[in-house]
């Protein structure tokens, strides 16, 4: 990984909620876990030695069950929550050293956020909501409303400018939230379970809007979710948190093929493997053409299965996006790929 591509670097970040957090910090650094800490010092361990590199222009997903610290982590990036110890580097500037004036500047220019419960201003119209981040920078009304207008159109809410958030459906409200975050042209987009409150169809639609926007804007997005399907759909990288600690941080395919521990295995046990595992994860590397059809590296098993079912005995050829042959897949590879990783076998029923 090229260090020039890293936009945000989180180093040894700890957060402990409660009184006496400094003494509790020593306990945690000496290896005390969340439950023990709560019992011994009445402090809650929020984040435990988090190290994370976030690449410029990519979507970094942070996953975990509720209480795992993912919302706490994202709020450290714009310092809505102050850490107990550690550093957060943005282009080599430690965000934690910013004065309150600099912090306000930083929030106005570099980062914007989308919230789980939308957090729109109920007393402001859609236009005023979207323009809010600009309006508080003392930009003239003409200028911010023009920009806001542009983003309202971009998220497909043309004609709703004068509506109040209370008059819109959940999906529409989150479009407003997305437009509000995009309107400031901030390089980094923080999305805190942004689509979790929406029903499945609308959620999938919002995910597509986001991916569509991302293919054009190339923002650096930190996306919090507890939904693995969502993480796999939009994430370029997935980090998994448990009880405030980082369990695994890797490529999405890697998480499915090689879960780091039982906790991650539990996460992935219910997914439809045929629909998410890509050819490159199960192929046998080779650069000679095989007898069957030729497919791309990122094709999922389900689709390969369709192709192979016509002539099961012929292995398919895998090629990369440039058309170069990189491997082959036989029926036995497919079956192997569909199988859950071995470490899972014992404690899973049904």
């Amino acid at each position: 990984m090229n260090s020039k591509n890293i936009l945000i670097k989180v180093n040894q970040l700890y957060k402990i909620f409660g009184d006496g957090d400094k003494s509790a910090l020593d306990l945690v650094k000496n290896g005390m876990g969340k439950d023990e800490l709560l019992e011994k010092s009445n402090c809650v361990l929020g984040l435990n030695n988090i190290n994370l590199n976030i690449n410029r222009g990519k979507i970094q997903v942070v996953m975990g069950l509720s209480g795992s610290g993912k919302s706490t982590l994202i709020r450290h990036l714009n310092r809505l929550i102050e850490p107990t110890s550690g550093e957060i580097l943005f282009n080599d500037t430690n965000i934690l050293n910013l004065s309150s004036k600099e912090l306000i500047q930083f929030r106005q220019n570099n980062m914007s956020m989308v919230f789980q419960k939308f957090a729109l201003f109920p007393h402001k119209t859609v236009l005023q909501n979207v323009g809010y981040g600009l309006a508080i920078q003392n930009i003239s009304k003409d200028e911010w409303s023009e920009k806001a207008q542009k983003w309202i159109k971009r998220v497909g809410l043309d004609g709703y400018e004068t509506y109040y958030p209370g008059q819109l459906s959940g999906g529409m409200q989150q479009r407003v939230g997305l437009a509000r975050a995009l309107a400031t042209d901030a390089e980094i987009l923080l999305m805190d379970e942004a689509f979790s409150a929406l029903d499945p169809l609308i959620r999938s639609e919002m995910q597509n809007i986001l991916l569509d926007l991302q293919s054009e804007l190339h923002k650096t997005i930190i996306f919090i979710t507890h939904d693995l399907d969502e993480a796999l759909k939009i994430g370029d990288r997935i980090a998994i948190l448990r009880d405030g600690s980082m369990v695994q941080d890797s490529d999405p395919q890697e998480i499915i093929m090689n879960p780091a521990d039982e906790y991650v295995s539990d996460f992935i046990k219910d997914i439809n493997r045929a629909r998410v595992i890509q050819a490159k994860s199960i192929m046998t590397p080779t650069n000679t053409k095989s007898s069957g059809a030729t497919v791309k590296e990122d094709m999922v098993l389900e689709d390969i299965l369709q192709i192979m079912s016509d002539s099961p005995s012929k292995p398919v050829t895998i090629e990369n996006s440039k058309g170069k042959v990189t491997g082959k897949i036989e029926m036995v590879n497919l079956i192997e790929g569909m199988k859950r990783p071995k470490s899972l076998g014992t404690n899973i029923t049904g």
Binding site: N78, L80, L103, I104, Q105, F106, R107, Q108, N109, M111, S112, M113, F115, K117, A119, L120, F121, P122, H123, Y132, G133, I136, Q137, Y164, G166, Q167, L168, S169, G170, R180, T184, L190
Partner: protein
């Protein structure tokens, strides 16, 4: 066993000495500073007199028209405007026009004073838990202490007249606006404030752009209560020289004039109802964005 049945209180002479000391101390204080305090309130008195004269000297049709206009702007309800018109015609017809104007003048000035002191105080309380902890007990005392008790030092300091009356009304009427401003701001959704923070809003932008507008309905309930309590004080205030509808009521009590007392009392009630309905409707209209939710 005497101490068991009779409370071991301080001796009579000690008690007398204690009271004397307090009284003398306050008399001394009022002798040396009374003049200065009175001068401090001089501009307020001038304003109050001017404002009352304005109400009394303006021809009644102009006053009624202005009041109806305000009632319409506030409530947008024909029913309330018509009711207001009939009420003021009746008040005038029964010869209470001038007293009503005096009362209206002092109520409006008192409300204005309460709002301009109470809202900043409420904001300060919402900002800091320490300030809140300091002010809440003071408000509790102000709301529970019998009004006659604080009339005594006010009268000792400022004598009898409009200003002490106004101060007495304000002491009684200010707690709701302070409390409800504080409450309204504290009740603003934390998520929304977090959103404002995340976009880099500073304290004042949050206060005036988000907290105050969202707290407005609650603050307005406070204004409404303040007006109601100010009206309730006019009879007591008239004991220390405030003219208006309270004075005839006071006269009616001491002379057992049933009709006089009833008429003026009802005029106060009518004013209260009009103020209440208009401000409540206005408060409701301010939060119309809340009532149009689809789900």
């Amino acid at each position: 066993m005497d101490w068991f049945f009779n409370f071991p209180d301080m001796s009579r002479s000690d008690l007398r000495e204690f009271k004397k000391t307090v009284d003398f101390a306050f008399t001394d204080f009022s002798r040396s500073y009374g003049q200065g305090i009175e001068e401090f309130f001089e501009p307020l008195l001038m304003f109050l007199v001017w404002f009352e004269k304005l109400f009394i000297n303006t021809p009644w049709p102009v006053i009624i028209f202005s009041i109806l206009l305000l009632a319409w702007i506030g409530s947008r309800s024909i029913l309330i405007v018509v009711g207001t018109f009939l009420s003021f015609m009746l008040i005038g017809y029964f010869g209470m026009w001038e007293d009503t104007m005096s009362t209206l003048a002092i109520i409006l000035v008192a409300t204005f004073l309460c709002i301009s002191i109470g809202i900043p105080l409420g904001i300060a309380m919402a900002r800091s838990n320490k300030v809140q902890a300091a002010i809440v007990p003071i408000l509790d005392v102000m709301q529970t202490i019998p009004s006659f008790v604080y009339l005594i030092p006010v009268v000792m300091l400022l004598g009898i007249g409009k200003v002490p009356g106004l101060i007495a009304v304000c002491i009684y009427a200010i707690p709701p606006i302070v409390r409800l401003t504080n409450l309204g701001i504290r009740l603003v959704d934390k998520d929304v404030l977090e959103a404002a923070d995340s976009f880099g809003a500073n304290y004042w932008q949050k206060l005036f752009g988000v907290q105050m507008p969202l707290a407005l309905p609650t603050i307005f309930a406070g204004v409404n209560q303040t007006i109601m309590m100010a009206l309730a004080m006019v009879v007591i205030a008239s004991m220390i020289g405030v003219k208006g509808l309270g004075l005839p009521v006071l006269r009616a009590i001491s002379n057992q004039y049933l009709a006089l007392g009833l008429m003026n009392g009802l005029a106060i009630v009518i004013l209260a109802i009009i103020f209440d309905r208009v401000t409540q409707k206005f408060g409701l209209r301010m939060q119309k964005y809340r009532n149009e939710g689809k789900d």
